[in-house]
């Protein structure tokens, strides 16, 4: 049967001895989809990717690639290709030999090897460097060779483990665009991309999988994650600077939730809520970019500026406010003429706020 699923992960767990690293991952990935695993360092992204690759044994659960159960299949036979963070080029082989290595192991004939290496080299603009050793290449070129080495194998699944983190900032942007182009040219190839950088995640992904401490926090398109984070963790992980949070009291539930802030200001938030959270202390989140300056009358929140970061196209203001114990951050467009120590007034559109219950789960996702 021709399956339209690229990958299926069913309750996949991993433990090293007694320490559990992944606690049961369930995930469906469509054929040709570009999936990004994102999460803080140490949360198990690489481990999950390496289990898909066959480099790490799957402790329990089932892994299917295009419908076939592959738990016990060795890496080489899963039809995957992988690009490593450190490029992992074979230092003693030329670019050509690096790319041809897998095909030579598989005993492909010379003509096929030559043709595939050359077309990959052309695609990645490596033709002039084919007979150089990796040490004679720049970081970006090396990363392209690593990608080329994966392309020539014509994989069903293309895996990337933080491929850009060894590059400097400008190259990173450029290579990111190349990877985005790659996604366009290899439409039938499922791609899984691991990063801890949310910008990469947001720009590349069809869907993002947010991981934390061995669990999936949320799966969704970049915009879903941004506008409807499922929980506090995702809300604070996606978006930069992170979402500001305040603890508030629920006064009234229903179609609209009425809350009271620490300064006893009362707001009606257009998010529906269940009756049982009435009187509970919950969290409201506002993204820094969702605030704007207000005059005295429309003031929802006031605070004292403690620090100003002028970035040119935006200005970040760090405020101390009596509404929250942590300093809050406001992102305003353009250059703002304010001084440290000044008190300012802010407002936000209430439908852009987010509510999270005591467990940190977004009220949007509650039944």
């Amino acid at each position: 049967m021709v399956s339209s699923t690229g990958l299926t992960l069913k309750n996949i767990k991993k433990s090293y001895g007694k320490t559990d690293v992944l606690h049961g991952i369930d995930l469906e990935i469509a054929l040709g989809e570009f999936i990004v695993f994102v999460g803080p360092s140490g949360c198990g992204k690489s481990t999950l990717l390496r289990m898909i690759a066959g480099l790490e044994e799957i402790t329990s659960g089932d892994l299917f690639i295009e419908g076939a159960h592959v738990n016990d299949l060795p890496a080489a036979m899963r039809g995957i290709a992988m690009v490593f963070q450190s490029y992992a080029l074979y230092p003693h082989m030329t670019v050509y030999d690096n790319m041809a290595f897998a095909m030579r192991i598989a005993k492909e004939d010379k003509a096929t090897i030559d043709q595939r290496v050359n077309s990959a080299a052309e695609m990645l603009q490596l033709t002039d460097y084919l007979y150089r050793l990796p040490k004679a290449l720049s970081g970006g070129q090396r990363q392209r060779v690593a990608i080329g080495r994966a392309i020539v194998r014509n994989p069903k699944v293309f895996l990337f483990d933080e491929p850009l983190s060894n590059l400097d900032a400008s190259l990173r942007v450029q290579t990111r665009i190349e990877i985005a182009n790659l996604k366009e040219t290899m439409k039938q190839t499922t791609m899984i991309y691991v990063t801890h950088d949310q910008v990469e995640a947001m720009t590349l992904a069809d869907r993002i999988v947010v991981l934390s401490a061995g669990n999936i926090e949320q799966v969704g398109t970049p915009l879903e994650l941004y506008s409807k984070p499922a929980n506090l963790f995702v809300a604070q992980f996606i978006g930069s600077p992170a979402m500001n949070i305040f603890t508030v009291k629920v006064l009234q539930t229903g179609k609209v939730t009425r809350i009271k802030t620490q300064n006893k200001n009362v707001f009606d938030i257009p998010i529906s809520s269940a009756a049982q959270i009435k009187e509970q202390t919950i969290t409201i989140g506002v993204r820094p970019e969702d605030f704007c300056l207000a005059d005295k009358e429309s003031c929802m929140l006031s605070g004292e500026i403690v620090f100003i970061e002028s970035l040119g196209e935006v200005t970040l203001l760090h405020l101390n406010s009596s509404e929250s114990t942590d300093p809050l951050v406001v992102k305003l467009p353009g250059i703002i003429n304010k001084q440290k120590g000044e008190m300012i007034c802010l407002k936000t559109e209430l439908d852009k706020t987010h509510l999270f219950d005591e467990q940190g789960i977004s009220l949007l996702y509650q039944v």
Binding site: A68, D72, L73, P74, M77
Partner: protein
């Protein structure tokens, strides 16, 4: 020449048979557990089995040699030391009893202890001094290379070199040995140095110190270079002088390397026999355990029991270092 050709041929054969073993065993493994043209389940199973067996194929020859040439002999030596001269009749601890009332053995034991006290200490000391001094000067690498050179010379070659230095001519004729010439130049009386009890021990030790200082220097020089520059700079800012920096900042940071050098040379000292054999063959109170053991292997047709007993004594002396090494290596691997 013909012989050399023959040895090259054998070498080629040896290498080829090694290659043949590894390639052949791998081929055989794939024949027994094929991975192509079988079902997925079968293939996964076969790959797993082959992967479980392959390490042992890789390790096989090495394990064979290690066990036959080193592990088994340790046990066999202990066994032999409890038996008579041909290793046939059981004599219990008689060989050891004999050892501990044998004057030559007691002399060897004292000498070995002297060697153990002096050689590692002085080699490490000189190595450290030279490493510290040469790090500061431009021609330091060249100087190090020259001081390191004796490492390449055989103990027997070194013995000849030093026997020449210690050479003695009867008073009145010109001394051709450097040492006696110097002694004479400064107004002393030339001596036949290697026949002077006690002092001759020292003169033999000088040879080993001469050889081993280079080793100590290389290790300690690398250790000194590995010390973060900042710690020295901070000490300079704190007003420490050269000696204080050396003893209070540098030395404490390279303790492990010093220990490594010390133990390595200690082991070597226990095994050294060529120097004594070549210089005095144990005469004039210079006997050491390793040479005595060698002696007993062949003396009067060879007494394997007594020889093995001496070997066991050497082994016992090595055991603490062995344990320390294994501990260090384990700790290091866990740190990875």
């Amino acid at each position: 020449m013909e012989q050399l050709f023959y040895s090259l041929l054998v070498m080629l054969l040896g290498v080829l048979s090694c290659v043949f073993y590894f390639v052949g065993s791998n081929w055989l493994l794939l024949l027994i557990y094929p991975v192509k043209h079988v079902s997925n389940v079968k293939m996964a199973q076969n790959i797993r089995r082959a992967a479980a067996i392959r390490p042992w194929l890789f390790l096989g020859p090495a394990l064979f040699f290690l066990i036959l040439y080193l592990v088994y002999p340790v046990f066999d030596s202990v066994y032999l030391s409890l038996h008579g001269r041909n290793g046939e009749e059981f004599v219990g601890l008689a060989n050891y009893e004999w050892l501990f009332q044998d004057n030559e053995f007691l002399e060897s034991l004292t000498n070995n202890i002297l060697w153990l006290l002096i050689v590692p200490a002085l080699s490490t000391f000189f190595g450290l001094i030279i490493a510290a001094l040469t790090d500061r000067i431009r021609w330091g690498d060249f100087a190090k290379s020259l001081i390191f050179m004796p490492m390449a010379i055989s103990f027997i070659g070194a013995s000849i070199i030093w026997k020449f230095v210690y050479d003695y001519r009867a008073e009145g004729s010109d001394q051709i040995g450097l040492l006696n010439a110097l002694v004479e130049y400064f107004g002393g009386t030339p001596q036949a140095w290697i026949t002077l009890p006690f002092w001759n021990d020292i003169f033999l030790m000088v040879i080993l110190i001469w050889i081993q200082t280079g080793f100590a220097m290389v290790i300690l020089s690398a250790a000194l270079r590995g010390i973060p520059e900042e710690t020295v700079e901070a000490a300079v800012l704190d007003g420490a002088n050269g000696f204080q920096i050396f003893f209070k900042i540098l030395i404490p940071q390279i303790w492990t390397s010093i220990a490594v050098v010390w133990t390595t040379i200690t082991i070597l000292v226990l095994k050294v026999f060529d120097i004594v054999l070549a210089m005095t063959n144990g005469q004039w109170d210079t006997q050491v355990l390793a040479n005595m053991m060698f002696d007993w292997m062949f003396r009067g047709g060879g007494d394997f029991g007594r020889g093995a007993a001496i070997a066991v004594i050497i082994m016992i002396a090595v055991i603490p270092v062995m344990i320390w090494n294994v501990r260090q290596a384990n700790a290091q691997m866990e740190g990875r």
